[in-house]
């Protein structure tokens, strides 16, 4: 403290005791006055007159400061809670998407498995690992290849019907030419009238029914087109698509029609590769519900 050793004079030395005694006497006087009057007494009232406004002001400042602090804490808590809820929401959203995805995959695989069980020929399921969707080539690559016994021209189907055929076989993969590939041509017939024709892909991505003989029933909008089995590549009765427009060119030898393919080429993820042979009509093995437009 540094006061030790200072030369305190006698007056200074005794002054502190004088101060103490004075203060104690004043205090006792206050106490005495207060107890006699039964309350804080006149000195108290006088002091209270001065300090009450100060107390009120201080209390106001304090309550404002604590109010601001409390508001800040509330805001901070709300922000933290908001952040936690956002994260929770994000997590649940991802979880929900994963569940939806799994459910869709489950449904697709169930359909594929059901079809596989119904078909009277050997098949091999494959997973799409790549897609080529340019105007020149439309194909998908599956994870089945030479090592799985897959050969060129093996038909590939989905639960709704025909997808295409294998055009290139690698050791562990196969490239499937889709029905709407510009160089794809499949021998088909109108299921209702049995009128034969050829389904060809177009550069725009559509599938067209060509070379349909004018005599016979021809085709109407909504008719189901299935493989005819001619040519020996595709078994008979694989659904190909539905007629959405008939183009009658009058004097031309053949009818033409535009088809809506039963397979959704853009969203295909699993396929069945038909490794066996059969002469039977396969149409009864497909679920008619799936062949309905928009199914």
């Amino acid at each position: 403290m540094g006061r030790k050793g200072r030369d305190w004079g006698p007056s200074v030395r005794y002054r502190k005791y004088a101060v103490l005694v004075s203060v104690l006497l004043i205090s006792l006087l206050f106490l005495s006055l207060g107890t006699r009057g039964g309350g804080t007494g006149k000195p108290g009232e006088l002091l209270a007159f001065f300090i009450t406004p100060l107390q009120a002001a201080l209390s106001k400042i304090q309550s404002s400061a604590f109010g601001a602090w409390s508001a800040y804490l509330d805001w901070k808590n709300a922000r933290r809670e908001n952040q936690a809820l956002r994260e929770e929401l994000e997590r649940l959203r991802i979880q929900s998407l994963q569940v939806e995805d799994t459910q869709r995959e489950n449904l697709r695989l169930r359909r594929l498995l059901a079809l596989r069980d119904r078909l009277p020929l050997s098949t091999l399921a494959g997973e799409v690992i790549a897609k080529e969707w340019g105007g020149w080539v439309r194909s998908v690559t599956v994870n089945r290849g030479r090592s799985d016994g897959i050969g060129r021209l093996t038909p590939a189907i989905v639960p709704e019907g025909l997808l295409g055929r294998v055009v290139e076989v690698r050791a562990r993969a196969a490239v499937i030419q889709l029905l709407n590939d510009p160089s794809s041509a499949v021998a088909v017939m109108v299921q209702r009238t049995r009128t034969a024709g050829v389904a060809e892909g177009e550069p725009g991505g559509a599938v067209r029914l060509k070379f349909m003989a004018r005599d016979g029933g021809g085709a109407q909008v909504g008719d189901l087109i299935v493989t005819s089995g001619l040519g020996g590549v595709f078994p008979k009765g694989l659904p190909v698509g539905r007629v959405i427009a008939v183009e009658d060119k009058g004097s031309a030898l053949f009818h033409y029609a535009r088809l809506h393919p039963v397979a959704d080429f853009a969203r295909v993820e699993e396929v069945l590769l038909l490794t066996g042979q059969t002469g039977a009509d396969l149409l009864p093995h497909f679920s008619l519900e799936l062949l309905e437009p928009g199914a």
Partner: protein, 164 residues
């Protein structure tokens, strides 16, 4: 200097009825004017300690609506004793100041209880000590330590020696 001292005492005295309740832990609130009195007494000597204690005690008496003069008397005594200790011992170290604050709070509690007994204060000694004086003494020690630390940091910052 005197003006700032007066403002400090006024603020400290009034803080007891406005700020201290907000700082309470359970039922225990610190005695801010007492902390101020002890620290001033230790630093400035018995005169300042005594007068400071009297002033803040009087403010507390009036503000709290008790016996006017009771706290003025006990706090004046505590301030005086703190000043005497400051003159005779080296109390610059917070490790001395803080336990000193706790002990002087206990002493003030004892003194106040004795004084109020003369005025027929009804509460039992054991209960007052256990539930009021002792917890408040510990809280004062804790708050005093924080105050001393804050002051030393402030002083070091002022002298520019904090980071040297």
């Amino acid at each position: 200097m005197r003006v700032s001292l007066a403002l400090m005492l006024l603020g400290g005295g009034l803080a007891q009825t406005s700020v201290a309740p907000a700082l309470r832990i359970g039922a225990v609130a610190p005695d801010i004017p007492l902390i101020l009195t002890v620290l001033l007494g230790l630093k400035r000597g018995p005169e300042v300690g005594c007068l400071s204690g009297f002033a803040v005690g009087l403010l507390q008496d009036v503000a709290a609506g008790g016996f006017v003069g009771a706290q003025a008397l006990t706090k004046a005594l505590v301030g005086f004793v703190a000043g005497l200790i400051g003159e005779r011992l080296l109390v610059g170290n917070p490790l001395v100041q803080v336990p000193g604050l706790v002990l002087l709070t206990l002493a003030e509690g004892l003194g106040r209880y004795w004084l109020l007994q003369l005025l027929h204060f009804p509460a039992a000694f054991g209960e007052v000590m256990l539930h009021v004086v002792l917890p408040q003494a510990l809280y004062n020690g804790f708050l005093g330590a924080a105050g001393v630390l804050a002051l030393s940091v402030l002083e070091a910052h002022r002298s520019g020696s904090l980071w040297r």
